[in-house]
């Protein structure tokens, strides 16, 4: 069967008896949990990646096999629990998938998350195609259970979203049943316990490095000794095509690195080149170990690699690369209600601190109505910071704009900041509520009242939450063409000099039909609910 890398993760997780998968939608990782759920796995969307990782750490503390998925910037959000989970270790297994996006097909940066493995001290695997994704998942679980440590499973867009042939395997024995084993000194990281935990971590890494020297995850493709190439991940595939005669050391377990194996390989070829996408992680580590190798020119750290670029790297070609003609950019759907909001913001010449979602497209023509977009939830903090320092005539025009899913993700703490440190002339937050996590493909979130699998569950009512913080001006409005209603409300809030939250609510047009179905199912469900179930 032909599977995408994401589908292969999900299939392996099912076959390996993973008890719980949690994450937050983020291209190119989103489909992992969607498929896992379709295959019958227990998959959950968490409000954000930090919570997702904490939930899966909990599951792994309980002795179960757990899977946490996110895109590269998501790991920034989850990094706090990540670093300390390396110290605590786990009882079961914990696989953390970081789906990186070199070239930024759909992200705000192209950070290279291999660095996290080094910084946090975690074992890391890098599969090159869907078959390896599937096979490496089982090995990742073995590593995690043997050394009782989370494993960073690092993928990139071309591995996640390319479809390649997968032969599933007959699975060995399933997981042991979950059960709690008290280990206070191992799990409670007060300094007295954390100090020995760090030493234990370094000891584990030394043992894993030794094991890695003979691990089948790394292999040598035989070839001409005149050219040796060290590579990992999708780059291996490009290398095999760009230089079919070269001898290749394909690394699959890329932290801690098998330095003896690398030394031996480099010593056996006349010329040794490291071909990697993104940061010069491998090249720096190998040179630090005293092994002279060629890297790539700096120009090749931008964007993803492909066969032509690898050919250029091997020829040390630093001439300017041909520019690709631009494709047609995406834009807000014609009937999207957010168009009304952006027109109003433009009309009032607002300074707009924006956020991440479909509405980020408001930065493009014809609106050009977003002035900043940094990371999830930043719209609140950035808007407030601007309000605190700008002269009044400018400060009064500052507005923060955020989506419903992004708000639950990391806007709530920004709203608390707004109440706790209010700017002198108030502030206006617009929550664009289309009842879905749209940009990543219409997933549910805690504000929709439905689980990942679209079943009814506890719901965060955004206006109630805002009011509970003591904000008096909280409005819910459905933006409608030609009425001027939204414009009038925005004007009133901007002129009030008070804190205001405007919830612009109308379901995303692309899922309007689906929503009707879910609502109908929910009515059937709640008709037979026992007392005490969550209120509709």
């Amino acid at each position: 069967m032909l599977l995408s890398g994401d589908e292969a993760v999900a299939l392996a997780a099912r076959h390996a008896g993973v008890a719980l998968g949690a994450g937050y939608p983020g291209t190119p990782s989103t489909e992992i949990l969607e498929h896992f759920s379709e295959l019958g796995g227990h998959a959950q969307w968490s409000p954000n990646e930090k919570v997702a990782l904490e939930v899966t750490i909990g599951a792994a503390f309980g002795g179960a096999r757990a899977l946490c998925t996110m895109k590269h910037v998501g790991l920034n959000v989850a990094s706090d629990p990540l670093f300390t989970a390396a110290y605590t270790g786990v009882s079961g297994a914990l696989i953390v998938v970081s789906a990186d996006d070199p070239g930024m097909a759909s992200s705000q940066n192209e950070q290279d998350n291999r660095r996290y493995a080094v910084a946090a001290g975690l074992p890391m695997l890098e599969p090159s195609d869907s078959q390896e994704v599937y096979d490496f998942m089982f090995t990742a679980i073995e590593i995690s259970e043997r050394w009782k440590i989370p494993v960073l499973f690092r993928m990139t867009t071309r591995v996640c979203h390319s479809y390649t042939v997968v032969q599933p395997r007959l699975t060995p024995g399933g997981p042991k049943p979950a059960s709690f084993e008290r280990d206070i000194r191992g799990r409670v990281m007060i300094p007295a316990y954390a100090r020995p935990a760090h030493r234990r971590l370094r000891q584990k890494l030394a043992e894993m490095e030794k094991w890695n020297e003979t691990s089948p995850l790394n292999r040598i493709e035989e070839g001409n000794a005149s050219l040796g190439i060290i590579t990992s991940g999708i780059s291996f595939m490009h290398v095999r095509e760009a230089a079919p005669e070269a001898r290749v050391l394909k690394l699959g377990f890329t932290h801690p690195l098998p330095m003896k194996k690398i030394t031996e390989f480099a010593g056996g070829v006349s010329r040794c080149v490291v071909v990697e996408e993104g940061d010069p992680y491998l090249v720096e580590a190998i040179r630090a170990a005293g092994i002279p190798v060629e890297g790539k020119a700096d120009m090749y750290r931008f964007g993803e690699l492909d066969v032509p670029r690898v050919r250029r790297i091997l020829k040390n070609d630093r001439s300017p690369e041909p520019a690709s003609p631009p494709g047609k950019p995406p834009q807000l759907c014609d009937a999207c209600q957010y168009r009304i909001v952006f027109e109003a913001l433009r009309k009032h010449d607002c300074i707009v601190a924006g956020d991440i979602g479909c509405y980020t497209l408001g930065v493009l023509q014809p609106f050009e109505a977003i002035d900043s977009c940094v990371c999830m939830g930043a719209s609140l903090g950035v808007g407030l910071g601007l309000r605190h320092v700008l002269p009044p005539d400018q400060a009064r025009r500052v507005v923060s704009v955020i989506g419903d899913s992004t708000f639950v993700h990391s806007g709530i703490s920004g709203l608390v900041e707004m109440v706790y440190n209010p700017p002198p002339n108030g502030h206006v937050l617009i929550i664009l509520d289309n009842s879905t996590t749209a940009m990543t493909g219409h997933q549910e979130h805690p504000g929709t009242g439905r689980t990942l699998a679209h079943q009814p569950t506890g719901k965060v009512v955004l206006e109630d939450l805002a009011r509970s913080l003591g904000i008096r001006r909280v409005y819910v409005i459905e933006p409608r063409m030609g009425t001027g209603e939204f414009d009038r409300l925005l004007t009133e809030c901007l002129e009030s000099n008070e804190l205001a939250v405007i919830i612009a609510r109308r379901p995303c047009i692309l899922i309007a039909q689906r929503l009707k179905q879910y609502e109908a199912q929910r009515c059937e469900c709640t008709a037979s609910q026992p007392a005490g179930a969550s209120a509709p």
């Binding site: 095509e241 492909d306 066969v307 047609k328 995406p330």
Partner: protein, 168 residues
Amino acid sequence: MSKVINIIVAGLGGQGVLKGTDILADVALRAGYDVKKSEIKGMSQRGGSVTGDVRFGERVFSPMVPAGEADFLLVLEPTQVEPHRHLLQPGGVLITPDAVPANQLPNRKTLNVALLGALSAHLPMSEAQWLDALRAGFAEKFFEGNRKAFRIGREQQKVKSPGVKPEA
């Protein structure tokens, strides 16, 4: 390394570009080839440009067709021809909506299938294998319409390039 056939399908979101690559990958798999398919997802629902790569042969490594090495380029949207032309190798085959007279198609939505029909005239897979892939790739009620569109594309292509032989 034996020859790999490189095919790129391009168009705008909503035109069935990725669906086209699904069918193409499926028919190649049915014919016993190693297949890799690659796409950049995410902008399709919002009218942005969408491109999908399909590569098949005895053994395929990189999932992406190198620029300038596509053997076949299918473009579903006239405005997307120029931005993608550089992906085609010299002598490569370009298949655009002109390959099929618009009024002959059962409906506009079958354009992607019709262009696959045109492409099929150049490829070694049998019509039966293609029809199996079409049947498997869509709900049963669409099969008749798809079969018609596919055959229109295939026949038209044979008329336009009478000497065309499927690649060995």
